[in-house]
Symmetry: C2
């Protein structure tokens, strides 16, 4: 008996819901009954059900009771680890080669760049992620110098700016766009692919609160990289 009682209760109901024994719309026993079943206090039951509520598995209405939720939008959790960490996890040797590295003003007319820069300048870092010396991904990145002044001092020739940022400007929020694009001349050259090869494009805007931190565009050969995601009602428990 290493697992806590409230956790066991939670798992029991999660299992019954996932297995379909308890279908959406079905009513769960009231806290008093569950508490009698397990021979515990109501607070313990409440803790278990609160976790299921937070995970979106159930809905609760006062007086009416507790019901299995009807899944509407299946949101899934996409793990987006640092590329360096990901490569090393596969047992490969990771490397980063900078292609361009400059501090500049936002280009006139580029509203996105101006918003990112704020009152300050932009740092542009383009580079290649390498796995065992083989190019895995081309990356184009812009960082707001106003938001992250330390970036100009950082040595980014061998370290990906994303890795550096992750360690220095954590807990940001982000928006990611994934699409498929044909390899342009630059990508074709760096990734050693024919022009027009289907590639995966991952664009990400990152900010902290209202302040914009960075924009990055990564191009992967389509067959060399998959985004893998798992989802389910137990998303909260994944971590």
């Amino acid at each position: 008996m290493k697992i806590a009682l409230h956790e066991r209760i939670r798992q029991d109901f999660e299992g019954r819901i996932l297995s379909g024994e308890l279908a959406p719309g079905d009513r769960l026993p009231i806290e008093q009954d569950i508490m009698a079943d397990y021979g515990c206090a109501r607070m313990t039951v409440n803790k278990a059900l609160s976790a299921l509520l937070a995970a979106g598995l159930i809905e609760r209405r006062k007086k009416a009771g507790t019901f299995v939720a009807r899944p509407k939008v299946h949101s899934m959790i996409l793990d987006v680890p640092d590329i360096a960490a990901q490569v090393r996890e596969r047992g490969q040797d990771y490397g980063f080669r900078a292609l361009a590295h400059a501090v500049r003003q936002p280009l006139a007319g580029m509203e996105e760049e101006r918003l990112l820069a704020g009152e300050g300048a932009l740092m542009q870092v383009d580079g290649l992620h390498l796995a065992n010396g083989v190019p895995l991904c081309v990356e184009y990145r812009l960082v707001s110098v106003a938001a992250v002044p330390d970036i100009v001092e950082a040595d980014l020739h061998n370290m990906a700016p994303g890795t550096w940022l992750l360690q220095h400007v954590p807990w940001t929020e982000a928006e990611t766009r994934i699409s498929a694009v044909p390899a342009g001349e630059g990508e074709a050259l760096h990734l050693q692919l024919p022009v027009g090869t289907a590639c995966l494009s991952v664009e990400r805007w990152t900010w902290r609160g209202a302040e914009r931190i960075t924009y990055v565009r990564q191009i992967f050969p389509g067959d060399a990289y998959d985004m893998l995601a798992r989802f389910g009602p137990s998303t909260a428990a994944v971590r």
Copy 2:
């Protein structure tokens, strides 16, 4: 004062962490001190901190204390709504046109198909998702008849099998793989694209408990469809 005290405490610390005031690795006050600050019981503080723990914002170690978590893997929530719902949300007219529709045995040698079928047969449904009559996506789907017997009776000529499944087989878990592929001859024909055009491929295996439900492969023109995802530490609150 409509919001609960434990919720207010949770939000306060979430805000301090997001703003950077509390950086990763920083130590939070011990429960006793927080409890004194807010003039409440320890259980109330504990509930607030438990929520932050579940959200991955903090780490807690006995005797040592509570610390702001160092974000390693940024997990982000990818909303994967039903394509039909998504199209209608954009104010467009949704349609589905079946291209193939058959019940068959798993192909010999295809281990994946045999696993999906289990003891029974497979239902294969290929079709086109249309937005305002324009092909948006080609879909190849296999459904386990053993797991979802009702599927053979369903009228899937105008309704996407995914939509039908979502309504009849809820609370499933899934794994999704996103990659970029060149359009094959079939996709080129149906999506009215040149062969080789960069397309987004979304593959998904779905199961309930140990039972496999369905496998689907969707091919989108790369420039016509983006997967959009937002993430941040407050993922748990998104629901």
